[in-house]
Symmetry: C2
Subunit: 314 residues, 2 copies
């Protein structure tokens, strides 16, 4: 049995996972960000003890998915903006208390491992998960193992520069992938486009915007599914930059499968169809088999299952 | 002992390499491109036999660096534009004749392996060679092995899109790395810039251009070393896009070292200094150790030595 922990900015979920990747027990707690790292780590340890007391399970290892940068060799969270963690020795803290090996990695990497073990990336050697959320994350499986690079910043594909954009990325640069195709990017571009076209009330999306309703990536996709002119423009731009990113990932990593997860991916097959259309325009090396594009399958379980299996796929 | 073959568009070099990566014998032949694949493969086999006859060496394996796309699992050259090869079963042909295992890979990948075994990338787990020539190639060492992806197109970083450019890439897309920072890209941008500034004869480079002398990347760097205003603009643009490419490679591969080879890299430490300056402007994740930037060391031996060791680092 393994413990997998999904540490998010809102909730902290501790799960007991068997060798088949099934979650047998699960404890969810609020992430008490204001209390600081020490208290949050205590909450984790408590939840683990509770699960062990209840199930008498023998735990082989503990894995944790971290929403930030990780020095996995030393088990240190180097940087985690949302939790305000910098240089937190989480591995040492928990091992001291529980006498069980602890493994940590970035949350998107952990999610890609879950997809590899039980989800959309199974039966591949080399594949990629792209998480389309507020930002864009990436997780790489390379030669059947998780890949995090020399310093734990590999697969941070949200900051791959693809072109020029009308606003800068939080990282300070211009043209990062996540400023074109994340949920926030969709909202930013939609607001700009709809503001510039306020008077075009033949578009239902323009009308919606003019009524001061909140624009979200879901709203944009919902209107695009109804073939709204302006929603189509926004989705097309989103898909064009996904396609550019995919071709870059093809000529760098050359994966068998690219899976899409995160909130935006709930637009489902409609989104995949748009991405495939734009990919055909961007595609090079046409006599090479392109990666398959699929949707992530593990949903909310990805963080727990992937973390639980970190030990096995280093 | 190993045979390493460097197959170029002009010459074909066959070398005998020992376990320490030393080249003990070397035969150079013209690559008779017009005669087609079968004849060129015969030339290779003849040279190998000649070396064996002369040295009585026992050959463990034969490796070949190919200037194009390779299906290494099946030993097939999928696409090699310069040689006009498409779907050439080179491994089968040579193994049939010599009864020794044959390994093939892309030439930039082969060069990166040579740098890893004996040159600028030794003692690393994960590192990258960027070859700045007519085009831009890349070779990746990942976890101490050559990395070529699922279809042999990984590390084709010359076609990573970085932004918009004033002309299209041969691949049909706009904004590929090699349209900004290859030798040809330097010449293309120089010609445009100097034509637009023909009258600025206080620049020695403009004068040189106006006298109808041929502009090359070496000429541009030579004038930049003398602090010529227009040469500086060209080198700065070249370096800016190298820096963008490096940051993309950092957030995707996260290597320990990036080594620069190919003709343009003969500009040496001067070029590295310019690249480092631009990298400092583009850099993100500032508390993460950045890759070291170095010059390739293996020169013309890279193709032979890397090919010879393909067997060992699959």
């Amino acid at each position: 049995m393994y413990i997998g922990i999904d540490l998010g900015g809102t909730n902290l979920v501790v799960g007991l996972v068997n060798d088949d990747g099934e979650i047998l027990e699960r404890i969810t707690k609020k992430t008490r960000v204001k209390n600081g790292a020490t208290e949050i780590i205590k909450d984790m340890i408590e939840a683990i003890k509770e699960i062990i007391d209840k199930t008498h399970a023998e735990i082989k290892s503990i894995g944790i998915g971290i929403p930030g940068l990780v020095d996995k060799e030393n088990g240190v969270v180097s940087e985690c903006v949302n939790l305000n963690w910098h240089g937190i020795h989480i591995k040492k803290e928990i091992e001291k208390e529980l006498n069980t090996s602890v493994f940590i990695d970035n949350d998107a990497t952990v999610a890609s491992l879950a997809e590899y073990v039980k989800g959309s990336l199974r039966n591949t050697d080399t594949s990629i998960l792209i998480t389309l959320g507020t930002g864009i994350g990436g997780g790489f499986i390379i030669n059947k193992k998780v890949y995090s690079g020399a310093n734990g910043i590999a697969s941070e594909i949200g900051h791959m520069v693809l072109g020029e954009n009308f606003y800068n990325c939080n990282c300070g640069r211009n043209g990062c992938f996540e400023t074109f195709s994340s949920a926030s990017a969709i909202v930013k571009y939609a607001s700009k486009l709809l503001e510039e076209n306020k008077e075009k009330e033949n578009s239902e999306l323009v009308k919606f915007y003019n009524s001061n309703e909140e624009i979200t990536s879901k709203i944009v996709f919902d209107f695009a599914k109804k073939n709204d002119e302006y929603a189509n423009i926004i989705v097309e731009r989103f898909s064009k930059y996904i396609a550019k990113a995919i071709v870059n990932l093809m000529v760098i990593i050359d994966p068998e499968i690219i899976s899409f997860g995160g909130g935006v991916s709930h637009a489902g097959e409609f989104m995949l169809k748009k991405i495939r259309e734009e990919f055909e325009k961007e595609r090079i090396f046409k006599n090479v088999v392109p990666p398959k594009f699929v949707l992530a399958e593990m949903g909310n379980d990805a963080g727990i299952v992937g973390a639980a299996f970190l030990n096995k796929y280093q």
